[in-house]
Amino acid sequence: MTSSTGGSMPEKQPFKQVFGYPRGLTERPTHYCPGCMHGVAHRLVAETLDELGIRERTVGISPVGCAVLAYNYFNCDMVEASHGRAPAVATGIKRARPDLYCFTYQGDGDLASIGMAEIIHAANRGESFTVIFYNNAIYGMTGGQMAPTTLVGMRTTTSPGGRDPLQKGAGYPICMAELLNTLEGPFYIARQSLLSSREIIRAKRCVKKAFQLQPRGFTFVELVGTCPTNWGMAPIESRRWASENMLPQFPVGVFRDREKEGDA
């Protein structure tokens, strides 16, 4: 485990530090709500940057939404994108500097609604960057509105009676990993969840894999998480709810791994 490089310590330390920030994260306190899993997802990316030794060769792209301030939390060069356009910004960066590593960090409103064209076409071109897609089925930053991934029947501030595809024409949840898996372009597509320690460890493996494979093409990891604040649940309850309701709609797994297929 990488240790913290924070402020000055007293000469004789009564405690030995056994856990700290990865180098890939700054030590700024985040603005995320209690129980939110953005912090976990950030950490998985940051540990990956450390373990692969690529932090100083990486450009991260923060989205619009809850993770808009991610540029304050990742300890690498960061670019803030407009809503949904992170894959276009990443395309510009990687076409200019293919020697750099680049990742976008996007939520469900950003990636699957306003940014649908950008993600589909970047994936289809096989642009070589990594997408970290945090799916919690709701717009968090703007106060809990319906997202493209909101479950049928799920209550949000713009679907107060529950998402209703039939009577109110509110549409169905969009499954991004499956959608992108219809394209030839992507190199690696996975979905994992962050609802327990075991799931987080699995998610970490996929995040790391996505960065390792990035030089060979477009890599995408969807992370199913929660939004206790806007779901109106306690953190533990929200994890249980996600396990029971989100995972049947958004099953975890590796959908595409061109390296394993051996046809790269």
């Binding site: 407009s82 356009r85 276009a88 990443a90 510009g92 076409r95 200019a96 500097r97």
Partner: protein
């Protein structure tokens, strides 16, 4: 220098390549398709990259990304497409990124038409959301277009701000002889770029400022650059203004039509001259304010957009009149002669 017969769009693209542009992100729209088409073959010859973006919105965010890592980058479009590019351009201005955008205007509003029009003066000089301006260069010949494109990249880097080349079908589609000058590369500070933080703290390219006091400071800093542009970058051409009693105001190829009209009016003894703004932002205010003429006739291929800046420039001291054709109709020298002759005979003030 070798002279080549070239279509305006292709001359613009070639000038960009010669000025060191190695990345182009665009989307097809008439009447500027020859720019992306030219770039799609030319850039790969010189080790560059071309992407046909999924939309103008995406293209304007691709140039944002490329500029963030210090690349010389360009996009091009036409009026409705520029509306879509306003998103990325505003972020470029807010994040202080150097980009070059070519707008080969067409008639509007809406889908409008594809014939020559100056319908985008407003959305070029007073663009999209937020307090900002691009530096806008308006060529009147293919040669000038090629020259201004080379300047545009340096101006973008100098001010870390979007620079727009503003033309229309007569610039984009017309063929004229052009000679490319030898481009002299200049050094610009790129320490702010996000190319990996080896040996330094991370850089952030961003236009989000949640603290109103800090955002206000940021707005002031951006406008200080515009004040410097107004002092150092104003460009215009005057034609037969030395003894002029009347003044025409026109930009782009409309100014060339005016020159033909002026020759005939001078033969008739009407002492008329021309001021042609080359930078539309910063606008050449002083030359209009200092012109000692009875009136100014602003001539545009629009319903009257630049006229607002002319009126602001003269501060009510000189009457400013208007003559315009729209929808893709190009005014003839004859109709300008008739208009001026009429005003002269009626003793318009």
């Amino acid at each position: 220098m070798e002279k080549l017969m070239m279509k305006g769009s292709e001359a613009i693209a070639e000038a960009a390549v010669r000025a060191g542009c190695r990345l182009f992100f665009g989307y097809p729209i008439t009447p500027q398709n020859e720019i992306p088409e030219y770039m799609s073959r030319r850039l790969f010859e010189v080790g560059g990259q071309f992407v046909q973006a999924e939309s103008e919105v995406a293209a304007s965010n691709m140039i944002y990304g490329a500029a963030a890592v210090g690349a010389r980058v360009m996009t091009s479009s036409s009026s409705p497409g520029i509306s879509l590019k306003q998103e990325g351009l505003s972020y470029c201005a807010g994040s202080e990124l150097p980009v070059v955008v070519v707008n080969i205007m067409r008639g509007g509003p809406g889908l409008g038409g594809i014939q020559p029009s100056q319908s985008d003066y407003w959305q070029s000089t007073k663009p999209g959301h937020g307090d900002w301006h691009p530096l806008v260069l308006a060529p009147s010949t293919i040669q000038e277009a090629a020259d201004l494109v080379m300047d545009a990249f340096d101006l973008a880097d100098e001010y870390r701000n979007p620079v727009m080349i503003l033309g229309y079908g007569l610039i984009g589609q017309m063929m004229e002889p052009v000679a490319f000058r030898e481009y002299q590369p200049r050094e610009f500070d790129k320490s702010w770029t996000t190319c990996g933080c080896k040996g330094r703290p991370p850089n952030i390219v961003n236009s989000l400022y949640l603290d109103p006091n800090i955002l206000e400071e940021h707005n002031h800093a951006i406008f200080q650059k515009y004040e410097r542009m107004k002092r150092e970058e104003v460009r215009f051409e005057t034609f037969r203004m030395d003894d002029a009693r009347f003044c025409l105001a026109a930009y782009g190829t409309v100014a060339r039509i005016c020159k033909t009209a002026i020759a005939q009016l001078r033969d008739e003894g009407i002492k008329v001259g021309l001021i042609r703004p080359i930078t539309l932002f910063p606008f050449p205010e002083a030359v209009f304010r200092e012109a000692r003429v009875r009136w100014i006739l602003d001539i545009e291929m629009s319903m009257g957009q630049m006229i607002e800046d002319v009126r602001l420039a003269v501060r009510g001291r000189t009457p400013v009149h208007f003559y315009g054709r729209v929808g893709g109709v190009v005014p003839t020298p004859d109709e300008i002669v008739r208009k001026v002759r009429e005003m002269y005979k009626e003793g318009v003030k």
